[in-house]
């Protein structure tokens, strides 16, 4: 039995585990055992989906899509995205319509399209040839061969540097860092080499690689499988930083990131890999980087978030409407660097209030940047001080995760505070 068939059989068994009513976000013991090493903290504990979000709710009522996509009836023929630069429709009947995907199958689909449409594209990282710990690269090696989809040793600094050299030579390089927490050994290469190659060479070279990494809280990840280090990368000029909130955005944004000439840090909220399910266009499409999306329109307060936190804000907005008749507008930044200043400022000028929320710790988080920019650009429109609802300034806790994450209640309280100010 080859390693590949082991991986496939494990995946098949894992599929059954994942189809159980309680939906483990990271798969069960059978799925994780084969990956060994660093995931000890993640194994065997079945996760409970703590997200109160429309897409999460959907995933609980329907079976995961990756093996049952063809059983869904009456999928919408296309998806319309209310981007700040104007609505965008993708997945029309002429281009194959939509198919039910979750976030990891959407990432997988985007990688497949990237490999199909660009013969120089290569995908590599720890265990990616076997599908990766979150299955994002499953079947890609079989489809594209071991020269284009391959495993690396466990060496994040080396992986990043290798990818930078590869990209600088003109190859489309897509690296996976197994967890965003492990991007810190690679941070030197990403911040000092990838981000600065174009600038220090006066445009002679660039390192337009894409580095995918799962990020964010997952219920039981503990200190080193839960962090959201996006602010580190946003504070590094020369990088772009992207975080999608669902399969539709993940696919379109990932394809745009891979095809962008700049180094892009693509952060995938791991809690959404299975929890977020949506009809996703089958076609090859890109969503523009640097453009925010209005997820929920509203009048009284602007809520800004990204990644999994958008779902928390949407739920908080619904509670605010139901309890206090507050009309909250939810904006998903999608691209965190460079972020869509125009969309946020325009929204705050209409609503007069801002709550910005992220899982990363409060201090030094991107929320502070959003708040400061709004204070400068929309000062006279503000009816209340900007509120930030973020992770606390502690290491990401294991036992205390539920107190750490900026949950619906904390967001709701901030909404009520700024409206009542």
């Amino acid at each position: 039995m080859t390693l590949a068939t082991v991986a496939r059989s494990v995946a098949a068994r894992a599929g059954n585990v994942w189809a159980l009513p309680t939906l483990p976000l990271l798969g069960g013991g059978a799925a994780t055992a084969v990956w060994g090493r660093r995931r000890a903290a993640l194994q065997t504990v079945p996760a409970v989906n703590t997200l109160s979000s429309p897409s999460a709710a959907l995933s609980e009522t329907k079976r995961p899509a990756h093996d049952t996509a063809d059983t869904f009836d009456a999928l919408p023929p296309s998806v319309t995205l209310p981007l700040s630069t104007g609505p965008l429709s993708v997945g029309t009947a002429a281009t194959g319509g939509t198919q039910q995907m979750n976030l990891f199958t959407a990432v997988n689909d985007a990688l497949r399209i990237a490999l199909e449409t660009d013969e120089s594209a290569v995908v590599f990282g720890e265990d990616v040839a076997f599908g990766g710990v979150f299955r994002c690269t499953q079947h890609l090696r079989d489809a594209f061969g071991p020269d284009r989809v391959f495993n690396t040793p466990l060496c994040e600094q080396g992986i990043a540097g290798f990818g930078i050299g590869l990209a600088a030579s003109g190859v489309t390089a897509v690296a996976e860092i197994q967890f965003a927490d492990y991007s810190l050994p690679a941070y030197d290469q990403l911040a000092n080499e990838a981000a600065k190659f174009r600038y220090r060479s006066g445009g002679a070279y660039s390192a337009g690689l894409t580095v995918r990494m799962p990020c964010g809280a997952v219920g039981h990840g503990g200190l080193y499988h839960s962090q959201s280090p996006e602010a580190l990368f946003c504070a590094t000029p020369g990088l772009k930083v992207v975080m999608p909130r669902d399969p539709v955005r993940a696919k379109g944004l990932l394809l745009a990131s891979i095809r962008d000439a700049n180094p892009v840090i693509f952060m995938e909220p791991k809690a959404l890999y299975r929890a977020s399910v949506a009809p996703t266009p089958v076609e090859d499409y890109e969503l523009p980087l640097g453009v925010a999306e209005t997820v929920v329109p509203g009048r009284d307060v602007t809520l800004v978030g990204w990644g999994a936190q958008v779902h928390v804000l949407v739920a908080a907005a619904a509670r605010a409407a139901a309890e206090d008749d507050i009309s909250a507008e939810v904006l998903d930044l999608q691209t965190l660097c460079p972020w869509d200043v125009d969309a946020v400022v325009a929204s705050v000028k209409r609503t007069g209030r801002l709550v910005v929320s992220h899982e990363a710790p409060l201090s030094g988080g991107l929320g502070g940047e959003v708040a400061a920019t709004v204070a400068a650009d929309a000062f006279l429109s503000l009816e209340a001080p900007v509120k930030r609802v973020c992770g606390w300034d502690t290491p990401f806790p294991l036992a205390h995760e539920k107190y750490y994450v900026p949950n619906v209640e904390r967001c709701l309280e901030a909404i009520k505070d700024v409206v009542a100010f």
Partner: protein
């Protein structure tokens, strides 16, 4: 104990320092004629020593070219030192004096199709990869005429058309990058190789071992070239490295020790290692035994951690330029007099380049935010946070 055989020294040879009175007025030997030279001993690790050459043939023209290249380099570095002292070069400046045979010998063994990447001591590689002294000194002095438009400075010289991936400011960062370049060469189905150069200090960096592991695992065509110039900044290898036999430190990878002060030895050793890479046998960890005459950078006088005697004796016994001069004179292709003429003309060229660099324009202020990200479709290169604005919005330039 190192086995040092100064190539080309014949028993009856006149030394480079012979008095001018001995110069004859006999016609010089045609440059296309060749001579055979014994090579200093190589040392190998997981490679067959017997398959390496013990002698090589060089023509007068080749030696003349090596001499001119090395002399131009040394003169340029000397001028760079002066430019730093007079405030024309700012920031950092790491000089190559003493190590020229490495840059020149490597280029004699590979082509511009092969990738080259190195650390911050990178001025002379830029010359060897086809740039001009004007280009290098312009970059050092922060002029728009420099190879990076004045924005890279001393540590960041590049020559994309000749596959020179230039200088890296982080110690050891070029190890993984070079590995990526080697993968690209293999992935593209070419016979090209990559050479990643680093110092004896960087040889202790973890990422060198990460990169070497990948390279060996995937049999990538790459030479990990450790320029052992004896000191990592101010710390000698004896104080910093658990093993000073750098050519053995690739462990599972093949290793090769080369006398890096002898240009022919560098040429032959690298040619052998490169051919091994091209045939798919995987990486070679090369140790270039060389010596840095100057300090680590300008701020280091290079005297606090070694004796003046050590430096002087190295200059007197192993200087790479003197070795080639001796070969040229002994071979009858040149006389001290004729070489002095060549030196004079090279000095003039470098002096002109200094004046060029001093007078060249500085990059305009708006280049501050150029090349941070790729230009937009309209060709603009605008980045937030660099403009006088309200908050982060794009507005009027500073």
């Amino acid at each position: 104990m190192l086995i040092v055989t100064v190539a080309g020294v014949r028993s009856k040879s006149r030394s480079a320092a012979a008095p001018a009175a001995e110069e004859s007025s006999a016609p010089l030997r045609p440059l296309e004629e060749t001579e055979t030279y014994d090579l200093p001993a190589f040392k190998t690790h997981r490679m067959d020593l017997d398959s390496l050459p013990t002698s090589t043939t060089a023509s007068g023209a080749q030696l003349q070219e090596y001499f001119e290249s090395m002399y131009r380099m040394r003169r340029m570095e000397t001028k760079a030192d002066e430019l730093y002292m007079t405030g024309h070069v700012r920031g950092f400046c790491h000089l190559y004096n003493g190590q020229e045979a490495v840059a020149v010998g490597v280029e004699a063994a590979v082509t511009y199709e092969d990738y080259l990447i190195t650390a911050y001591r990178n001025h002379c590689q830029q010359l060897a990869r086809g740039d001009t002294v004007e280009g290098v000194l312009s970059e050092l002095t922060g002029r728009v005429t420099g190879c990076s438009g004045g924005k890279g400075g001393s540590m960041h010289l590049y020559k994309p058309e000749n596959r020179y991936f230039g200088g890296n400011g982080i110690v050891g960062a070029q190890g993984p990058l070079g590995t990526g370049l080697a993968f690209a060469a293999k992935y593209g189905g070419t016979r090209n190789i990559a050479i990643t150069m680093f110092g004896d200090g960087a040889a202790n960096q973890g990422q060198i071992f990460e990169a070497l592991n990948m390279a060996q695992l995937w049999r990538l065509p790459i030479i990990f070239m450790c320029e052992n110039n004896r000191y990592g900044m101010g710390t000698s290898t004896a104080r910093a490295a658990a093993s000073g036999d750098f050519y053995t430190r690739g462990d599972y990878a093949a290793g090769l020790y080369i006398d890096g002060m002898n240009v022919l030895s560098v040429r032959e050793g690298i040619a052998y290692a490169a051919e091994r890479c091209r045939t798919g046998e995987g990486p070679v960890y090369v140790e270039m035994d060389t010596y840095r005459y100057k300090g680590h950078s300008i701020s280091d006088q290079g005297t606090g951690y070694r004796t003046t005697d050590e430096v002087q004796s190295m200059k007197a016994s192993r200087d790479p330029i003197d070795q080639v001069k001796t070969m040229l004179i002994d071979g009858g292709w040149a006389t001290l007099q004729s070489l002095k003429g060549v030196e004079r003309s090279l000095r003039k060229q470098v002096d002109a380049a200094v004046e060029f660099a001093k007078k060249a324009p500085e990059p305009p202020p708006e280049h501050l935010w150029k090349d941070v990200l790729s230009p937009s479709a309209s060709g603009e290169s605008v980045v937030r946070g660099t403009l006088v604005t309200t908050g982060g919005k794009v507005g009027t330039p500073l």
